[in-house]
């Protein structure tokens, strides 16, 4: 008992009414206590403290989930069957024997026609263990709260992982089923992310969200987040701002027939008449820059807001939404004219996955956090080999990569990895900073939403760089190479014209 209570809520909760028992409560309990079926025996496995099992203690009757007694197996089945029976009894016997509200005691059939002598599933016992990809326990000193919370959420809501649709059974398996959940988290990556946050930007990186995905598999290898209300990484959203440009470029190159050396008008301020809007949509270039007509590549380097919106309108806002979906962005984007500027609330996993898809030659592999769930020798879930889905062509992915690599070079940012391609930015409304990008073997998003950081974008970039440099994954196969020569477009550059 500590001072971690909220005093106001504690006071309110202490005022909740305390009810009297219903009439007959003690009579019913007394009948149940005197029943031959309910007698003191071995301690519940792992739940009520150390078991004090006597040498001659008999295991309790085996009761299935419908309250039917099962024949007791022979002794040769060993201790695990006893544990299984005890676990089942812990979850079901008490309620089975409870008198109902009319005072009648529910009977247990001893003639269950479905009874079988087949061995029950192997139940090793004990609470679930959550381990990293190497089988080491995930510990809080690696700041994996968000990863643990996400695993918790996945197991509670998705029946695939524990092999049963029965939520009670899933809860029981997690509480006392001896289940081991092997995640995709690489503890070395977690450590590198924490070091990067601590060391980058004189501490400005503290509080950064770091999400890293292996493009070759879709495995989430690192997840660090201080958001106290993020109960699932998959629901943790960020404002991509400039980071969304990769999606716009992918739409333009893959579905709009645009190439990086095509030209577009970046002059500003600019305004656009939009169907359904009474007033024109007005945009001012960053720093009120006058802008110019230049190549798409240069407009991305220059962060020309007017050019980006014109490019988005030329390609089509719906096309951008469709491309985002193909790249793995599952929600949070709408066909508004501000979409090309990254005005969206996108899951940090989805955004990182989109970059991972571009790193993997345009092949989407669904991001995942749980690799395998086992119970003793029994496999309850196995993710299996990742399945690649074509999102955009390899040529288009290459061109996006090429432009993002140009941005990194031109920015002279702290991102020093010669194979890195990425882009950073700052949300004008919230001041949040983001850097998202990839190498051949890793896609990473760093987001900083804390107030009080003068330049959150620079801090995010610094964290990104230190993380990528500090963490060199052993496996680099499967993903594409970010920096490579892309195919010639086979035509001369041409102007791109926005047609709202």
């Amino acid at each position: 008992m500590t001072g971690e209570r909220d005093p106001l809520l504690a006071a309110e909760l202490a005022r909740r009414p305390v009810f009297d028992h219903r009439p007959g409560f003690w009579d019913d309990l007394d009948r149940a206590l005197r029943s031959d079926e309910v007698r003191p025996g071995p301690a519940d496995h792992g739940e009520l403290g150390p078991a004090g099992r006597g040498a001659d203690a008999q295991p309790p009757p085996r009761i299935d989930r419908r309250g039917h007694r099962r024949p007791r197996p022979g002794r040769h089945h060993g201790r695990w069957l006893l544990a299984a029976a005890m676990a089942l009894v812990a979850g079901g016997l008490a309620s089975t024997l409870l008198p109902d509200r009319g005072g009648r005691t529910t009977s247990i059939s001893t003639d269950d026609p479905t009874a079988t002598t087949a061995p029950a599933p192997v139940v090793v016992g004990g609470p679930a263990r959550i381990v990293d990809r190497d089988g080491e326990p995930l510990t809080s000193d690696l700041a994996v709260q968000v990863a643990l919370a996400t695993v918790d959420d996945l197991l509670a809501t998705d029946p695939r992982y524990l092999g049963t649709d029965d939520a009670d059974e899933r809860a029981r398996l997690l509480a006392d089923g001896g289940v081991t959940i092997r995640t995709t988290i690489d503890s070395a990556a977690q450590r590198a992310a924490l070091d990067a946050r601590r060391n980058a930007g004189d501490g400005a990186g503290n509080g950064a969200t770091v999400t890293a995905i292996d493009p070759a598999t879709g495995a989430i290898v690192a997840a660090v987040d201080d958001d106290p209300v993020a109960d699932s990484l998959f629901r943790r959203t960020v404002r991509p701002s400039d980071g969304f440009m990769a999606v716009v470029l992918a739409a333009a190159f893959d579905r709009g027939g645009v190439v990086p050396e095509d030209t577009i008008d970046g002059r500003g301020p600019c305004e656009f008449e939009m169907d359904g809007l009474d007033d024109p949509y007005q945009v001012v270039n960053h720093g009120q820059a006058p802008g110019a007509v230049a190549t798409v590549r240069q407009q991305v380097i220059d962060r020309s807001d007017c050019a980006w919106v014109r490019l988005g309108l030329a390609v089509g806002l719906d096309t951008i939404v469709d491309t985002a979906t193909a790249l793995g962005v599952t929600g949070g984007v709408s066909a508004y004219p501000s979409l090309p500027l990254g005005a969206a609330d996108v899951s940090v996993v989805d955004l990182t996955s989109a970059y991972a898809t571009l790193a993997a030659d345009g092949q989407l592999r669904e991001p995942f956090l749980i690799e395998r769930v086992t119970q003793g020798e029994r496999v309850l879930y196995d993710h299996g080999a990742p399945v690649a889905q074509p999102a955009v062509s390899a040529d288009s992915a290459c061109r996006v990569t090429s432009v993002l690599a140009s941005v990194r070079t031109a920015d002279e940012s702290e991102v020093v990895d010669p194979e890195a391609a990425g882009i950073g930015g700052r949300d004008g409304f919230s001041g949040a900073g983001i850097y998202t990008g990839f190498t051949a073997s890793l896609a990473v998003t760093v987001s900083i939403e804390l107030s009080g950081v003068d330049d959150a974008a620079a801090a995010a970039t610094a964290v990104w760089n230190q993380f990528v440099v500090g963490y060199r994954p052993a496996s680099t196969g499967g993903g594409g190479s970010p920096i490579e020569l892309c195919p010639e477009p086979g035509r001369d550059p041409q102007p791109v014209v926005a047609t709202p």
Binding site: M1, R16, R22, D44, G49, A51, R101, Q145, L148, A149
Partner: protein, 183 residues
Amino acid sequence: MSDPRERELIERSTAGDGRAFAALLADHDDRMRAIASRMLGSQAAMDDALQDAYLKAYRSLAGFRGEAPFGGWLQRVVTRTCIDHLRRRDRRDEVALDAAASSAQGGLAFDDRYVDRSALGTALATLPAHHRAVVLLVDGEGYDYDEAAELLHTSRGTVASRLSRARAALRTALDAERQERCR
């Protein structure tokens, strides 16, 4: 375990004397009713959980070695059982169930003697079970994060994140209710 009467009752209970165990429970029932009432919010749910917990405690009495107070051991069994009931109820329409249960006891479906209809009770009922459980354990019963994490079979970080979200939701609901009252 210094109370000779309690020690005797435990010894008799362990030997299979159900009446002795009932007497033992009666000594601690006020505290257990308080815990189960505050965690579950209705008489019907409290009674169900306490029946479960008391029978489970009886069956598991061998696990109690007398190194710690019996009341503390029993409280842990009751708390754990209440959490299980919260999780089960979360998948059902618990307000309807509580109302039906109360109604069956005399047509008093909205009688405050049987169901917590306070603003806090209503706000708690809107929380997911895993959020409700953590706020009830930490803010209601005074468990620290590590103890709550152990009881909930989750991590300390998960407790912290869920608690933060649950507190925020409760404060919002309570503020809204207060503003409504002040109009």
